[in-house]
Structure formats: C-alpha cells, structure tokens
C-alpha cells in the first residue's frame, strides 16, 4: 500500500512535466535566456510600434516642406529644448533635411518602409523558395537538377549586383526593389527546404504515410515541411536584415524608393554629400538602418540557438 501511495504522485509529476514543456515553451524559455535575443526583440518591438503609431509619434507629415510654415532653414541642426535649444524655436529632434522637412518625422515614417521591405521580400522569397526547394527535394532527378542549377546561377551573382541589374531592367521604384531583393534571396530558402526534404523524405514515418496512400502534396505539407520550419524561421529572420540592407543600398543608389518617400537608404543617399556640413542628415538614417538590421540579426541568432536541438540544456 505504502509503495503505491509513493509512486502515484511521481507518475502524475512526470505527466504534468511533459505537458508543460511543449516545444514552443522550451524554445521560448531558451530564447529569453539570451540577453542578445532580448535586446533584439525590444528594438524590434519599438520599431514595430513606431511603424504602427507613426502618425501619432511624428510631429510633422514626412513630406511636408516647412518653408513658410516655420522659421527653419535648410539642413538646420537638431533643436532639442531639453538640450538647450532656444525654447522659442520649434523643436526638431533630428534637424531639418535638404528639402526643409522634419528629419525625425521622416525617420519615424521610414520604419514602415523598412519593415514592409523586410517582411514582403522575405515572405515572397520563402514562398517561392519553399515551393522550388520542396519540389526539387521530393521529385529528385532532372527536376531537381534544373531547379537547383537555376538556384546556383542566382547564387553565383553577388546579391546586390543582381538586384541592381534587375531594377535596372524593371526600372527604379519601391515595388521593383521589393521584387529584385526578393528574387535574389530565393535560392537560400530553396536550398534549406530542399536539404530538409532530402533528410526527411526517407524517414520511416514518411514511408509509412506513403504506404498508407497519401498523396505527395499531403506528405510534403503534413510530414516533410513542418520539419523544415526551424531552419527556415532562423534563415528568414536573418534574411529580413539582409533584405533591409539590400533595399537600403538600392535606394541609396537611387534605384529603390523614389522621392519624396521617407526611405532611410534614399535619405542617406540624397544627403551623402553633406557628411561634413550636415552630419545629422547622414547619421540618423544610418543609425536607423543599423539598429534595425542589428535587431533582426540578434533575433535571428537567438532563434537559431533556441531552436537548435544540439544546444538543448545549455
């Protein structure tokens, strides 16, 4: 009797432990143990909130020219009342740009562009890359060869140069930039998915599914792709950072977002000649790009560590 009474709670305890520690929970627990990942998440959270509430945060319309509206001059330095700027002057936290617009408002609205670029291009690349990678991995043979050699060709070009070439053909503009950056990032996702498919498709549970008469689409969707998700999430998070950087570079070169859009890369490019005479016009967009990219990189690293089964328990 006494033995039975001792064992019961043990079983119950083990059962409750299994239930509580789902994969998601484990991942989150491990993710939030990393300081870097937390920093990345906080920055990203601020960025997302800034983008959502831009109209409430920005004191001016980002394309509003302040000539005749306020007594400000072109490329005026930041005026922060707390830092001793004349209280009678209107406050411009990041100064005035070359077209006499409030730089802070433009930076705030610029976060929308960066997030839009990051998420759109990576989503596009993931969808296309996943389809191609899955088909290549599952079908094998000549299909795989054709698809993966195409991916190799894309990978053979430096991504930014390829993006510039694509935009040069399609014409400058935000839409074409998104497409160009999306296209050049497809191969990395196709490769990830293909290798996952290859490693999984001969597993017994897949064989079992096949033996039960499941269609290839069903097997891919239900058995194989869920197992490719982990590396894909990590690659996507890091890929957003690269995409933002590439898009900013394209805008810097004049191929991306067109005036008067408050895109950080374009802002940087327009005022690149003023690095000595009006450094604030180069500094703030540069910092904004750096912080955003840093946030996604930290987040990506954190996710990778959290999702990596080899680091379990560390």
């Amino acid at each position: 009797m006494s033995t039975a009474t001792v064992e019961e709670p043990t079983v119950a305890k083990i059962g409750s432990n299994v239930k509580a520690e789902s994969l998601w929970a484990v991942t989150m627990r491990r993710f939030f143990k990393q300081r870097n990942a937390i920093v990345g998440t906080i920055i990203l959270l601020i960025l997302v909130l800034t983008a959502i509430f831009a109209p409430y945060i920005a004191p001016y319309d980002p394309i509003q020219v302040l000539i005749g509206v306020e007594d400000v001059s072109r490329r005026e330095k930041p005026c922060v009342h707390l830092l001793g700027c004349d209280p009678e002057k209107s406050q411009h936290l990041m100064g005035i740009d070359g077209n006499v617009r409030d730089q802070f408002s433009r930076i705030v609205y610029g976060s929308r562009y960066s997030l839009l670029i990051g998420f759109t291009t990576v989503s596009f690349a993931i969808i296309i890359g996943t389809i191609l990678g899955a088909i290549a991995g599952y079908a094998g043979g000549i299909t795989e060869d054709v698809i993966m050699r195409m991916m190799d060709v894309l990978l053979a070009f430096p991504s930014l140069l390829l993006a510039i070439a694509i935009v040069a053909v399609l014409g400058p503009g935000l839409q074409n930039t998104l497409l160009a950056v999306g296209i050049v990032t497809i191969p990395q996702y196709a490769r990830i998915v293909r290798s996952s498919v290859l490693s999984v498709k001969e597993q017994e549970y897949v064989e079992a599914s096949r033996a039960l008469g499941a269609s290839p689409f069903h097997i891919l969707r239900k058995r194989i792709l869920p197992n490719s998700l982990t590396p894909l999430i990590v690659a996507a998070t890091l890929g957003i950072a690269t995409a933002i950087l590439d898009a900013a570079a394209l805008s810097f070169l004049g191929f991306g977002a067109q005036p008067p859009a408050p895109e950080w890369g374009a802002m940087l490019g327009t005022e690149r000649g003023q690095i000595f005479s009006a450094p604030h016009l180069v500094f703030f967009p540069g910092i904004a790009i750096s912080l955003t990219v840093l946030a996604f990189n930290l987040l990506g690293d954190g996710l990778r560590d959290a999702l990596d089964p080899r680091l379990k328990g560390k």
Partner: protein, 628 residues
C-alpha cells in the same frame, strides 16, 4: 575508369576552347594597322589609340615626337617642309572625304551650294597659307565671339583625317595650346604637360592634371587635404566653410547662366499653351532661389541673363500666383491636375547646384499649387541630354545653360531655333524674330526684335525660366592666379601652383577629347588647354582676343570676315599650323556630307555625330532632309 576518361577528354576540350577564345582576341587587340580591325575595335582599344602604344613599340622611334604620330613628320624639318609629303596624300584624301570640301592649288576651301540651306557660311576659303576668308550668307554680329568658342578648336589637317577616320581623335587631340596630352587614365585623371613650343607665354606650371569627383563634399575634402589645387563648383553650403578657412580662397564663377523647367509641347497635356502658362504662374521661383541657391543667385525673369546685352528686353516673367494658376489649369481641362514625371540628371551645374533637392522642391510645388503629381526620375547624363535634344521627354525636365559667348544668340537661338526640337514643335513666333535679330550688327537695332522674341517666349511658355545661379570654385590659398572666366574654360597656363603641378578637380570626367562634337563644360575645360581657336575670350570679360588668328576683320556689312593667322605656330606633333588646318577643322564640323562629320562608330571623327554647336551656331551644310 570510363567516366574518368570522359572527364579528362571534356577537360581537355574545355582548355582548348578557352585557349582558342583567348588566342582569337589577341590579334584584334594588338592590331596596329587598323585595317583589319573595325572602327569600334580601334576606338575601344586603348593601346592602339594612345601614344603609349607607339612608345612601347620596339620598332617605333624612341623619339617622343615620332611616337605621337606615325604619319606626321618625324622631325621638325619634315614637319615644316609643309605639305610636300602629305600634299598628294592630302589631296587624294580630301577628295575622298566627300561633301563640299575642295583642294585647289594646295589651298582648301569649303563652299556651300548657295545659301538656301539656311546656315551662315557660304564659303570658307584658305586664300593663302596664313589667311582664311569666311564668306557669310547673312551678317553675323557675333562672328568673333563665336569663333573664339572652344568647340571650334583647330587641329592639324592630316591628324584630323587620320585620327578622325579611325576613331582615335576622341582621345588623342593635337592642338597648338599651352598644354599637350600626356595621358588619359580613364576614370581617374587627364594629365597634360607643358607645350614647349607654345606660341604664347609659357605655362607657369609644367604639368596640369584634371581629376574629377561627382560629390561637392568629396571635392572640398580633396582641396582641404591638399590633394588638389582648385575645385569646380563649390557646394552652396560650403561657401562659408571656404571663406572661413585661411588655407583656402573662394573663386567666384562669373559665367552667366539659366536654369529652366522644360516641357515638350508634342506630349499631352503640354501641347496646351494654357497648361504651360498655368505652370509658369504656379511655380514659386523666389522660394526655389531663396532656399536652394547660394547667395548672389537671382530669380530669372528672362531666359537670357541681363548681363548679356539685349538679354532682358520685353516683359518680365509672370509673378507667382497659385490661385490664378490653379484656375487657369482647371479652365484648360485639368481641375485636379494630372500625372507626369520630372526628369533630371544628377550632375552639379552652376545653374543647378543640387538637382535632386530642386526636383523634390518642384515636385512639392507642383502638387501643392497645381495638384500635379510628378514622379521624379533621375537619368544618366548622356541619355538624358540625348532624350531632351530629340524632344522625347514626356514630362518636365530640369536643364540649364551656361553662356559660351556674350550674345543673346547663345541663349535664345540655340534653344528656340526652328531646328531644335527640345521643346517639341518649334515656335515660329519666337524663331522668326530671333533669326531677324541675329542678322543685325547693331545691338540697338536688334533690341526691339529681342523684346518681341522674349514676349513670345513669355506668351507661349516653352519652358519656365527659374534661376540665374551664382557659383564659385575654391582653390588653395597658396595657388596664384586661381580664377574662372565668364566665358570659356580656365586658363591653366596662368595658374601657378606651389608644387609646379596644377591639379584641378571638376565634377565629371570629360566625355571625349574632341570638343568639336561635345557640349559639356568638363570636356571643354580640358580641350581648352590643348587646342586653340581662332580667337579667345578675355580673362574677365566676353571680349575676344587674338589667338591663332591675329585678327579677324569684317567688311562693312559683315558678310565677309578675313582672319589673318598667326605665323610660326606649330602643333604638338611638330607640324606647322596653316590656313588649311582651319578650313579642315571647320569642314568636319559644318559639312554634314563630309565623311568625318559622323560618330566614330560610323567611321567619323565625332562622338555622337551630332556636332550640335556647329549646327546651332552656324547651320550645317548638306544636312540630310528630315523625314516627316
């Protein structure tokens, strides 16, 4: 084993293929004769086109002069032995060039088939070795000012015929100027060395280097760090920096200019004069000048700056009135504006210091004042100018003009002549008055006609004149005689740099070094040091001075100009300068039937083959009729 063998065979085939490809290119790139190579190959082959190749050729003489020109005489004796050797050749070649050029009794002449072609010249004749007579179809009061222009530089006849036909003229100019070309390191610099045989005062510095950087900040940084001696086009924001720096000096640029917003009347809705007029009234030009131009700039009330005689005759431009403009646009059928584009080239110019910012400002004003939504489209400089010149820009475009010589014809006749399609269909109300005015020697007599032309421009609004920009170069404080000129390039020969090498940094690389077929200032600035024109502009005015011609004398009614040439002048290749060189230089630019009056790609001497300045300043002989 089998697969390995196959792999080995494949590898071998690959190696052979690569070797074959490599071998195939070698003879082409090193082909010196030029006979086997196409023009394009020759033109792109730097070795074949530059002196270096000849210098490295073991068979070529080590003598530098010989290396600079294979055909030209290899020593001064042969060079001064005038046409003895080259005459027969020259005569034969002149005939083969086609067009209206003829050699008679060793003297060249260019004769138009009458004056019906509409141009200025009836004939240009070498009457003896040192005299050229220009017979005009109609009087040209600006004759002297025009012949002083750098685009009309004189090069040796033989060199023009040889280098002009194989494409090498574009990067191998031979002139009589104070400097000769040493090397053109593409993308980096053009190095010139002093011409020891220069006919005028010897250059102060033995070496003149042109470098370039697109960004104003980069140029200033190079100047501040002492890497260059003078920089072109100081950014408006840097004026104060330079003035406050004891190591630098501000060098005001006195070139009269105009910045305008162009439209092409062959596209909707710019084909409607009321739309254009509404735009003219709806742009706050004062706001643009106040905020985007340096001190000293002015709002343009006329297309021609008032510093040019007769430039500001007639009524001043419309005052800014957004309400009236909006009403007028609504009456023209566009109450909510329309969608269009603003095209520009991102190149710093005195008349447009910061093109992207001005484009955005105009975009903003068009939206706010007229409801017009304009997309901003930057273009490469070359294609942009090509599209504008051909009247193919569907939208607005930002362009301007710097004076070449001090006469209204330089501003008005070029832009509004009946042959210029840049604003679409030319306006007879404008060009008829201009043609009439251009034939009057007296400025007073011409004034009423210029007033009528300016009023017609105001009424028809082919473009909106916006600003006359002020600009400045900057130079090191220790550089002596740093200057700019109101007309023409800097005189590199008078500038004295402390280290005997004057380095000038401009905003772009020269397009080619044959200025007869170029239009941009960066190219003229370099050519101007190498090649001389018949006359030259003064240091601080538009008055002309003797250059290769000691004088050009017009008859009473201005229909004949006789230019007496300077004697004893030799070109950089050692050949002697004479009247035939003048006629040949002019013939290539003026005579469209001359085989050298074409782009290098088509076997001619030019770059684009447009010879724009010749066309608009003088009119082209034998020009093909335009197809409808």
């Amino acid at each position: 084993m089998r697969s390995r063998r196959t792999l080995a065979v494949l590898l071998l085939l690959l190696v052979m293929l690569l070797a074959a490809c490599g071998g195939g290119t070698t003879p082409e790139t090193t082909d010196e004769s030029g006979e086997g190579a196409t023009t394009e190959e020759t033109a792109t082959d730097e070795e074949a086109a530059t002196d270096e190749e000849a210098m490295t050729d073991e068979e070529a003489a080590t003598d530098e002069e010989a290396a600079t020109d294979e055909e030209a005489a290899t020593d001064e004796e042969a060079a001064t032995d005038e046409e003895a050797m080259s005459e027969d050749e020259g005569m034969m070649d002149v005939a083969s060039l086609g067009g209206s050029l003829a050699m008679d009794n060793e003297l060249l002449s260019l004769k138009a088939d009458g004056c019906d072609y509409g141009g200025y010249f009836e004939s240009i004749e070498a009457t003896d070795a040192n005299t050229v007579v220009f017979t005009m179809c109609k009087p040209d009061p600006a004759f002297e000012a025009k012949v002083a222009f750098e685009g009309f530089g004189i090069q040796p006849m033989e060199h023009l015929m040889k280098a002009g036909s194989d494409g090498s003229l574009l990067e191998n100019p031979i002139g009589t100027g104070p400097y000769k070309l040493d090397s053109w390191n593409r993308g980096e610099s053009v190095i010139l060395t002093a011409n020891e045989d220069y006919w005028g005062e010897a250059p102060a510095d033995p070496t003149l280097v042109f470098r370039w950087a697109e960004e104003g900040a980069t140029r200033l940084l190079e100047l501040q760090s002492g890497q260059v001696d003078q920089i072109a086009f100081l950014s408006p924001d840097d004026f104060e920096t330079v003035e406050a720096d004891a190591n630098l000096q501000l060098v005001p640029n006195l070139n009269p200019n105009i910045f305008y917003l162009g439209m092409t009347n062959t596209f909707e809705p710019f084909d409607n004069p009321d739309v254009r007029k509404a735009i003219a009234m709806g742009i706050d030009r004062q706001r643009l000048v106040d905020n985007f131009y340096p001190e000293g700039s002015e709002v343009a009330d006329y297309f021609t700056p008032c510093s040019i005689p007769n430039g500001c005759e007639g009524d001043a431009w419309y005052d800014f009135n957004a309400e009236d403009a909006k009403t007028m646009l609504a009456e023209a059928g566009y109450p909510d504006g329309f969608e269009t584009a603003i095209y520009y080239r991102d190149v710093f110019r005195v008349y447009l210091p910061e093109p992207p910012l001005v484009a955005v400002e105009l975009q903003t004003q068009l939206k706010e004042n007229l409801g017009i939504t304009a997309e901003i489209i930057p273009m490469e400089s070359g294609p942009f100018l090509e599209e504008v010149s051909a009247g193919r820009i569907e939208g607005f475009y930002l362009l301007g003009w710097g004076a070449d010589y001090p006469h209204p014809t330089n501003f008005l006749d070029y832009h509004f002549s009946k042959d210029n399609p840049q604003f679409g269909d030319p306006f007879p109300e404008i060009y008829e008055k201009l043609t009439e005015a251009a034939q009057l020697a007296s400025a007073e007599e011409a004034a009423p006609l210029y007033a009528e032309a300016n009023n017609a421009i105001r009424e028809l609004v082919p473009m909106v004149p916006i600003a006359h920009g002020a600009a400045a170069d900057a130079a090191g404080a220790s550089v002596q005689n740093a200057h700019t000129r109101p007309f023409g390039a800097i005189l590199g020969r008078i500038v004295d740099s402390p280290d005997d090498t004057f380095v000038y940094m401009q905003s772009a690389e020269p397009i080619s070094l044959y200025c007869g077929d170029e239009t941009d200032g960066e190219t003229f600035r370099v050519c101007g040091q190498i090649v001389d024109s018949l006359l030259a502009y003064g240091l601080d005015s538009g008055d002309t001075e003797p250059s290769l011609a000691e004088e050009c004398v017009g008859n009473e009614d201005g229909t004949e100009w006789t230019c007496n040439l300077r004697q004893g002048v030799v070109f950089h290749d050692g050949s002697a300068f004479d009247a035939n060189d003048v006629v040949m230089s002019y013939a290539i630019g003026l005579d469209a039937a001359n085989s050298l009056h074409a782009a290098a790609e088509a076997g001619g001497a030019g770059n684009s083959g447009a010879f724009e300045y010749w066309s608009y300043l003088w009119g082209l002989m034998n020009a093909p009729e335009e197809s409808e």
